[in-house]
């Protein structure tokens, strides 16, 4: 039972990660970028939990707790920044927000 779970679990984590990555790369809205980052973090967490279950160690689950904390903090700060950006420039499109000349 565990073997099958590991492969599928990691596959699911990878798929979730890619979905999140796609969201970061292809969405033109900072809010969605933040959302996709959450998905990526959760995918990583899932991978840790699956591994923990495979190796019967609690370390993976502890990692997931840490990831959860980090993502919560990051979401809070990110949302605050997004509110500020929206107030300043009226847009949440990252391409428009760039001021570098390149």
């Amino acid at each position: 039972m565990t073997t099958v779970l590991v492969q599928y679990g990691l596959l699911l984590a990878a798929a979730l990660f890619l979905v999140g990555l796609a969201g970061v790369l292809f969405r033109r809205n900072l809010l969605f970028t933040l959302l996709s980052l959450e998905i990526m973090l959760n995918a990583a967490g899932l991978a840790f939990v699956v591994a923990a279950s495979r190796w019967q160690q609690p370390d993976g689950q502890v990692m997931f707790l840490i990831i959860l904390a980090v993502s919560a903090a990051e979401a809070a700060v990110g949302l605050a920044l997004i509110l500020g950006i929206h107030r300043e420039s009226g847009t949440l499109d990252p391409d428009e927000l760039s001021r570098l000349r390149g």
Binding site: L25, S98, G102
Partner: protein, 630 residues
């Protein structure tokens, strides 16, 4: 007695040191005394040394004085020492004797010029270098004197430095002779490394014992030494500097460019005659060059307007005679002609100097004339010298020396008669241009008026030089005219003199008669063309070919133009190209590359965070793939 010989170059060297450091502070008379007395002392010591050398009663003296160790490397020791034998003694006596007279002359000639002290400083340095050259016991020390005289020639040609043309002439002289000097130093290096010694006596003895005749080493070394001699002695193809060198003061032209420095090449080949004997092809080349030069320069001398340029080309021509003699192995005859030539050529130049000075710096012979009345002493001495140069017997030294050369040339083997014929043509040309000069300058209508009579300091040297110019020939006369052999016995103390036997019994007399006839023919031609102004002469000149030939000869057979096109222009062009540092574009290119790369990379910094994220993702994927695959 002979050990005093180090004083001979030391006196003029000391004179140079004093005059160059203190010259500005000393008064003119003091400079004159300092400059002249150092040479006088040198002359006196030379006479003493000569007496010691030649005296049969005293024991055989030491002929070499080693001064100090110049350079020493493991297998080769280069010393700084002097060597005396009859060849170097001959040159020493001529240099100090004629040098002293010219110093005396200069004290009056240069009295109105600025830079008086500088003049005598340079002249003293010249004498010192020339003496070092002929007294050197090693080739490298000879080279030091060689370059030293070249330097003084440069400084003295450009003595009146405010005039750019003079500096150009000086530069030309040095550069052309340096080309020869480079060949000389390569030849010296060759001899040093292959024969293991630079000491001339050692070198020659090793050469004769170790090198087979005709060996490549001998040929190469002799050819290189010849190239060096060609530069210093202004023979073809390195002769272009001497006519321009007349830009210097006339006493300088007399001393350096007539009597002494230009004979350094002759001295070199005479000194190294053993080496040249081992390379017969090169030696024959010497003869050919000598013959060609004497003819070409003769034509040029006959078409010049400037009195000094006539004499310059005639010097080139007469040294051609010396080279011709060397080329047939007649180095004693070359040395004898050197002696007589020094006397009469210096005399001619000094006389010309008096004329130039008294006519207010006039050089053009067609603006002179009828000077025999106003300057009788100058005329008399000048005529003596002219007759000597034209080799008109019996009371002219030039006749005896030239005749000796011609005798030797005729008897020198299969090519002898042809060379002799060329030399004979040279005699005609010599007397032609010499008496052209005499007739135009001294006879005929007076065109410029000389200002006063020349003083004693100017005329005494003229008179003193006229004596050997007339009588020095009696040191060596042919069999039928007294058979005096003083000179050949003297010079034989250096190396044995092997004179060729006449091919036919009456040959000697016949040769003398023919050469007499040739010189008289030349005078006759000069008389007809330039005194009587024959129609033939003027008609020839009015033809376009005639005028072209005249300009061609005037320009020295076009050598200057040739060198300008083939050497000077390309060199200048190359210098400019190289001097603008073409390699910079390579290094600037590297810099430009950095700038381009910067611009390219800064295109990435556009602030588009999605692109940054994409980059990170791509990079991570790549690294993972690499890790998995490798």
């Amino acid at each position: 007695m002979v050990t005093l010989m180090w004083l001979i170059p030391a006196f003029p060297a000391a004179g140079f040191l004093v005059l160059s450091t203190l010259g500005r502070r000393l008064s003119r008379p003091a400079c004159a005394v300092m400059g002249t007395s150092s040479v006088a002392l040198s002359m006196i010591v030379s006479a003493v040394v000569a007496w010691g050398y030649l005296s049969p009663t005293l024991p055989r003296p030491l002929t070499t004085t080693a001064l100090w160790q110049w350079m020493e490397i493991r297998s080769l020791s280069i010393g700084f020492g002097l060597h005396l034998d009859s060849l170097s003694l001959l040159w020493v006596l001529v240099v100090t004797g004629v040098g002293f007279l010219i110093h005396l002359y200069s004290t009056s000639f240069m009295s109105a010029q600025e830079g008086y002290g500088r003049y005598f400083a340079y002249l003293n340095l010249f004498i010192a270098s020339m003496l070092l050259l002929v007294l050197a016991d090693g080739l490298l020390l000879l080279y030091l004197g060689w370059e030293g005289v070249g330097l003084c020639s440069f400084l003295l040609i450009g003595f009146w430095y405010r005039e750019p043309a003079n500096s150009k002439a000086a530069l030309k002289a040095f550069v052309v002779t340096r080309i020869g000097d480079t060949a000389l130093i390569i030849g010296i290096l060759l001899l040093y490394t292959r024969l293991g010694s630079g000491n001339i006596q050692e070198l020659l003895s090793r050469a004769s014992s170790q090198i087979p005749p005709g060996a490549p080493l001998a040929v190469a070394a002799a050819a290189l030494l010849l190239a060096g001699a060609l530069g210093k002695s202004a023979q073809i193809p390195l002769q272009t500097w001497l006519p321009d060198a007349m830009a210097g003061p006339t006493p300088v032209s007399a001393l350096i460019h007539a009597a002494t420095m230009v004979t350094a090449g002759v001295y070199l080949i005479a000194r190294m005659n053993v080496l040249f004997a081992l390379a017969p092809t090169v030696r024959f080349l010497v003869a050919i060059i000598g013959a060609a030069t004497l003819i070409l320069a003769g034509f040029s001398a006959a078409s010049q307007r400037d009195i000094k340029r006539v004499l310059a080309y005639s010097t080139i021509s007469q040294i051609g005679y010396m080279f011709l003699a060397l080329g047939v192995g007649a180095w004693p005859a070359a040395a004898f002609h050197f002696l007589t030539h020094a006397c009469f050529k210096a005399l001619l130049f000094l006389g010309a100097g008096v004329i130039i000075l008294n006519l207010g710096d006039e050089h053009d012979i067609f603006r002179m004339g009828g000077l025999w009345k106003r300057m009788p002493l100058v005329f008399a001495t000048f005529l003596t010298a002219a007759l000597s140069m034209a080799a008109v017997p019996p009371l002219t030294a030039g006749f005896y020396s030239k005749d000796w050369i011609l005798y030797w040339v005729w008897n020198s083997g299969p090519s002898g008669p042809i060379l002799w014929l060329l030399a004979l043509l040279g005699i005609v040309l010599t007397s032609l241009y010499t008496f052209r000069l005499v007739f135009i300058v001294f006879l005929g209508p007076e065109r410029s008026r000389p200002s006063g009579r020349p003083g004693a300091l100017l005329t005494i040297p003229l008179v003193v030089l006229a004596v050997p110019a007339a009588l020095a020939g009696f040191l060596e006369t042919p069999r039928h005219l007294g058979d005096i052999r003083v000179f050949s016995r003297f010079i034989a103390q250096t190396a044995p003199v092997v004179e060729p036997a006449p091919s036919m019994p009456g040959m000697v007399v016949w040769l003398i008669l023919v050469s007499e006839a040739a010189s008289l023919l030349g005078i006759l031609l000069a008389y007809l063309l330039f005194r009587r102004r024959l129609r033939v002469g003027e008609a020839a000149e009015s033809l376009p070919q005639g005028a072209y030939l005249r300009r061609f000869w005037l320009a020295g057979w076009g050598f200057d133009w040739l060198y300008e096109q083939t050497v000077v222009r390309p060199y200048r062009f190359l210098s400019r190209v190289v001097g603008s540092e073409p390699l910079d574009w390579l290094y600037r290119g590297i810099g430009d590359l950095a700038v381009v790369a910067h611009r390219l990379l800064s295109l990435i910094q556009d602030g588009r965070i999605r692109r940054y994220a994409a980059g990170v993702a791509l990079g991570a994927a790549l690294i993972l793939a690499l890790v998995v695959l490798l």
